[in-house]
């Protein structure tokens, strides 16, 4: 049969163009390298593993969807051993020696500041997840992906006291116990101001050194002060230690809030039930209404289990890391560019819808003053559920 040349050419052309169709099913070409560090060893390692598992899922999903700009994404991760001086050096390595295309966030304020300095010197955009003191972020092209307000010392106490006001017995007397860990301390300082404005009475104010081992005296003093509400300016394992110390002396605060507790250990402690805390995301509706997010939650649960992480729900830490990759993807896709200046300019003028709300950066120092994406969650019968504000609350959830 005589093959019609024109038809063959047309068929061949169609085949070729189908193969060249940008990344619907296949990312190809030189990988885009995105570099960051995490404290995989050292005191902050317990948080890093959550970020690592999350980011790995994000990069995988990204590549499944065709990567960025049609190219596969490669994540270059290094261990900063929880040391800011190492973070600085490693980011310089990533940028100047490894010549990565873009950089991503390390963990916690000190390391982020170290990375920010490097980013500033090389005019790189820095998206960051876990920066605790917004006023210190003075670099023009830094963008937070946690939904933090510019003035958390004002906004967050208000969130918590708004939620507290909805409790069956709204508190009037408050005991403040705060660690001197930089970020949470600042919030507690702000809380005292907020309390005054709301007409709440401070019956006790205690500060303790981060790393304190003995909470016996603190527990006794709170018990003696007999407050309606315990404000815990605490993070990590401190709330647990404090509550266990209180348990030993037969005391249980009528109501309490802790800023950023490690979610897992408190689940089974009776004295912790009813505690309020801050979060951006919890693994229930309406957050999981989006099937993509629901799938992520499921995948994360499996991976976390494989990795041996005790707490396998997606919550604050995982979500802020997930959001950072959502923002990265949106910005790069929208600008069709890997140029930091372009990306930075775009972020300032636009917003990105993330798994816990819409992020924008059009306020002072790329934050937004007075508004944020944080919510208040409560530990109810061994599960953390968002209770405030109501549009994000789990269906039927009430403050108990």
């Amino acid at each position: 049969m005589k093959i019609d040349r024109r038809r063959a050419l047309a068929a061949g052309g169609a085949l070729l163009s189908a193969m060249a169709l940008p990344g619907v099913l296949r990312a190809q070409g030189k990988p885009i390298r995105i570099g960051s560090t995490l404290p995989l060893t050292g005191p902050l390692a317990s948080l890093a593993i959550i970020h690592k598992v999350t980011a790995e899922i994000c990069v995988e999903n990204l590549n499944k969807r065709g990567g960025l700009l049609g190219r596969p994404v490669e994540w270059v991760l290094r261990d900063d051993q929880s040391k800011p001086e190492l973070t600085r050096t490693l980011y310089e390595q990533l940028i100047t020696a490894d010549t990565v295309d873009l950089i991503q966030s390390p963990y916690a304020t000190a390391s982020i500041l170290a990375a920010m300095g490097v980013a500033q010197r090389y005019n790189k955009v820095l998206l960051h997840t876990s920066f605790g003191i917004p006023k210190l972020a003075k670099y023009d092209m830094q963008f937070q992906t946690a939904g933090s307000p510019f003035d958390p010392e004002n906004v967050w106490p208000n969130h918590i006291f708004d939620a507290a006001a909805k409790l069956p017995k709204p508190p009037k007397t408050i005991a403040i116990v705060t660690s001197k860990f930089p970020s949470v301390h600042a919030i507690s300082v702000g809380a005292r101001e907020v309390m005054k404005k709301r007409g709440l009475t401070e019956v006790l104010h205690l500060e303790y050194e981060f790393g304190n081992r003995d909470y016996g005296a603190i527990a006794s003093r709170v018990k003696e002060a007999n407050p309606d509400f315990l404000w815990g300016g605490t993070n990590g394992i401190d709330p647990m230690l404090m509550l266990e110390a209180m348990k030993k002396i037969g005391y249980r605060p009528p109501a309490q809030a802790h800023l950023f507790p490690a979610p897992g250990p408190m689940l089974k402690l009776p004295e912790a039930q009813g505690a309020l805390a801050l979060t951006t995301f919890e693994s229930h509706a309406p957050f999981t209404d989006d099937p993509v997010i629901a799938q992520f939650v499921k995948t994360y649960g499996e991976r976390a289990q494989q990795a041996g992480i005790p707490y396998t729900s997606v919550d604050l830490q995982s979500a802020i890391m997930y959001a950072s990759w959502q923002v990265l993807e949106s910005a790069v896709t929208a600008t069709k560019s890997l140029d930091d200046k372009t990306i930075g300019a775009w972020l300032k003028k636009n917003e990105v819808k993330t798994l816990f709300g819409t992020l924008r950066w059009n306020g002072p120092q790329n934050y937004v003053e007075g508004a944020d994406l944080y919510k208040v969650k409560q530990l109810q019968q061994g599960k953390w559920v968002v209770v405030h504000p109501t549009q994000w609350a789990a269906p039927g959830a009430k403050l108990t």
Binding site: T41, G42, P43, A45, S46, A48, I49, K180, L206, E207, Y208, E209, G211, N212, R213, D214, Y215, G216, A217, I218, A219, S220, R221, E224, I237, M240, L241, E244, A245, K247, K248, I249, G250, A262, G264, P265, K268, A307, G308, I309, P310, Y311
Partner: protein, 284 residues
């Protein structure tokens, strides 16, 4: 001015944490004072014991005290192995610090690899039990810790003071060649002391698991204060770290009861400094 109950409860709290310092310090003090080995890895070993206890209790559902019957002998052997290693390579005092630091890194990495860096809390029925002594509360797990600390410290002291074994150990510590001339088997005693120190770490680990939430980073959190208690209490003196630990714990607790808790370490360590400067001869 804080109430008597508050002060009393705080003092108790200080005593209990001091007991834990003493328990952690006992093994360290014995191997440092008697064997001239600074065993930094003692902390890592204690936490390893805590994790293993946790694992056996949480997963195999064995009662934590029963786990001690498994862990303590196992650690005794580990302690002997460590001593063998030091003997085999004639490791000097300063170098034992290096070697045990290396061992600490290895154990810490092992713990993190198996249990991750995230927090683990051993659930146990004992945590809920507490008693009332007048207006003061006593938690069972605390009392257990204090009990162990006292028993082991006093027991070790008694053995050293009154038994032939103890005298032999003290003789070897003071002058090994002469003691050997009198028929004392230095090697065997070294193994005994080393093994005992490691099993004390196992007991400390049990108490840690009962009372605290575990994370690998905490291996380092206790180092500073326990070292201070050990040096303060006099190397090789079993009761020393306990007493010193309680002094530190109580002074910190009382500070926290009376003023802003953030000043606590200042008070306890200044107190330490003052005591040392005024009565140094007591501690050499």
């Amino acid at each position: 001015m804080p109430s008597a109950t508050l002060l009393g409860q705080s003092v108790l709290s200080g005593v209990f944490i001091g007991a834990l310092y003493g328990l952690l310090g006992l093994g360290l003090s014995l191997s440092w004072g008697m064997l001239r080995q600074v065993n930094l890895a003692h902390f890592a070993l204690a936490f390893l014991g805590a994790y293993v206890t946790f694992q056996l209790a949480a997963v195999a559902k064995i009662d934590p005290f029963v786990t001690l019957a498994i862990v303590a002998p196992a650690f005794f052997v580990l302690g002997m192995a460590l001593h063998w290693f030091f003997l085999r390579f004639s490791v000097t005092l300063l170098n034992t610090l290096l070697v045990t630091f290396g061992i600490t890194s290895i154990i810490e990495a092992g713990i993190q690899w198996y249990w991750t860096a995230d927090f683990h809390r051993m659930e146990n029925a004992y945590a809920a039990v507490r008693w009332k002594l007048g207006p003061l509360f006593l938690a069972l797990t605390d009392v257990i810790t204090l009990g162990f600390a006292l028993a082991l410290a006093l027991g070790a002291w008694a053995v050293l003071r009154f038994t032939d074994l103890g005298k032999a150990i003290r003789a070897t510590t003071e002058d090994a060649p002469i003691a050997a001339a009198f028929g004392v088997n230095e090697k065997l005693l070294g193994f005994l002391v080393s093994g005992f120190a490691a099993s004390v770490a196992a007991v400390a680990g049990l108490c840690l698991a009962l009372n605290h939430t575990l994370a690998p980073v905490q291996i380092y959190a206790w180092m500073g204060v326990v070292f201070a208690a050990v040096m303060m209490g006099g190397l090789g003196r079993p009761i020393g770290p306990l007493v010193a630990g309680i002094v530190i714990g109580v002074s910190e607790a009382v500070t926290m009861a009376v003023t802003n808790p953030t000043w606590a370490p200042l008070v306890s360590f200044s107190l330490l400094i003052v005591i040392l400067l005024l009565r140094p001869a007591r501690f050499s």
